[in-house]
C-alpha cells in the first residue's frame, strides 16, 4: 500500500513556466519533508512543514501543508533548468509510530 501518493509522476515543462506537484495521503503526519534528488546523488532536504496550513517559501519554491496535515504541495514559479530533478515528499506517519515514509517522487524536467 502506497501511503504517500505523489502526482504527477513525470512533468516536463518549458523554462519560465509555473508548476505545482502534489503529495497526498489518508494518514496524518507529524511533519512532512520535501527533498530534491539529482541523478546519481542522494536526496537533499529542501524544507520541513509541521503546522497544518503552514506555508513556507524558499526563493521561487512555495511549500504548503494541508490543514489536516494529510497532504502537501510544492509550487515552483518561473521554473529554471536548475530545478530539474526528482522531488520526494516524506512524512512521519502517526499511524506507524512516526516512522518515516516516502512517496515515489515526481520527476521534473525543465526544458531550456
Amino acid at each position: 500500500t502506497q501511503l504517500l501518493e505523489q502526482s504527477p509522476q513525470f512533468l516536463s515543462i518549458q523554462e519560465g513556466e509555473n508548476l505545482t506537484v502534489y503529495c497526498n495521503s489518508s494518514s496524518v503526519f507529524s511533519s512532512l519533508q520535501w527533498y530534491r534528488q539529482e541523478p546519481g546523488e542522494g536526496p537533499v532536504l529542501l524544507v520541513t512543514v509541521v503546522t497544518g496550513g503552514e506555508v513556507k517559501k524558499l526563493k521561487r519554491l512555495t511549500f504548503q501543508f494541508g490543514d489536516a496535515r494529510k497532504d502537501s504541495s510544492l509550487h515552483i514559479t518561473a521554473a529554471q533548468p536548475g530545478d530539474t530533478g526528482l522531488y520526494l515528499c516524506a512524512g512521519d506517519d502517526k499511524n506507524r509510530d512516526d516512522k518515516i515514509i516516502f512517496g515515489k517522487g515526481t520527476r521534473l524536467h525543465i526544458l531550456p
Binding site: 507529524s30 511533519s31 512532512l32 519533508q33 527533498y35 546519481g40 546523488e41 542522494g42 536526496p43 537533499v44 532536504l45 520541513t48 520526494l88 516524506a90 512524512g91 512521519d92 512516526d98 518515516i100 516516502f102 512517496g103 515515489k104 517522487g105
Partner: protein, 114 residues
C-alpha cells in the same frame, strides 16, 4: 559543512560475494538509516539504528545485516550478494525523535551484482 559520507560510489560484485557498504556522519546524529532506491519502487528502508549497538529491521531486511559499533558509523552488509540486490544504496542520518523526519543523505552507493 555537515556531511554523510558513503565509502564507495560505485561497486561491481559477483553473486555470492560478501559486500560491505560503509557510512559515516559528522553531525553527532543519534539515528542512522539504510535505504535502497529502485526505479518505480522509490526508497525502501532496509535497517535503521537509534543508538550505538542498536538496530531495527525496516521494510526489506532480508539478505542484509547491519553494524553500528560507533555513533558516527553505520555499516550495511550483504552476506551473499545476489543479482536482485543490484540497486542504489542510500545512507541517511537524523537527530533524535523530535526531528526524526529531517534526513541527511549520503551521495549513494550504486551496487551492481553480476
Amino acid at each position: 559543512d555537515v556531511k554523510v559520507t558513503q565509502s564507495s560510489r560505485y561497486l561491481v560484485k559477483r553473486t555470492g560475494e560478501k559486500v560491505f557498504l560503509e557510512c559515516v556522519q559528522d553531525m553527532d546524529h543519534e539515528n542512522m538509516f539504510w535505504y535502497r532506491q529502485d526505479p518505480g519502487l522509490g526508497l525502501r528502508l532496509i535497517y535503521f539504528s537509534y543508538d550505538v549497538k542498536m538496530k531495527e529491521k525496516g521494510d526489506i531486511p532480508e539478505g542484509y545485516s547491519v553494524s553500528r559499533e560507533k555513533k558516527e558509523r553505520f555499516s550495511l552488509i550483504l552476506e551473499s550478494a545476489s543479482t536482485n540486490q543490484t540497486s542504489m544504496y542510500l545512507c541517511a542520518s537524523s537527530r533524535g525523535t523530535r526531528e526524526a523526519g529531517e534526513l541527511f543523505f549520503g551521495e549513494g552507493s550504486r551496487l551492481t551484482v553480476l
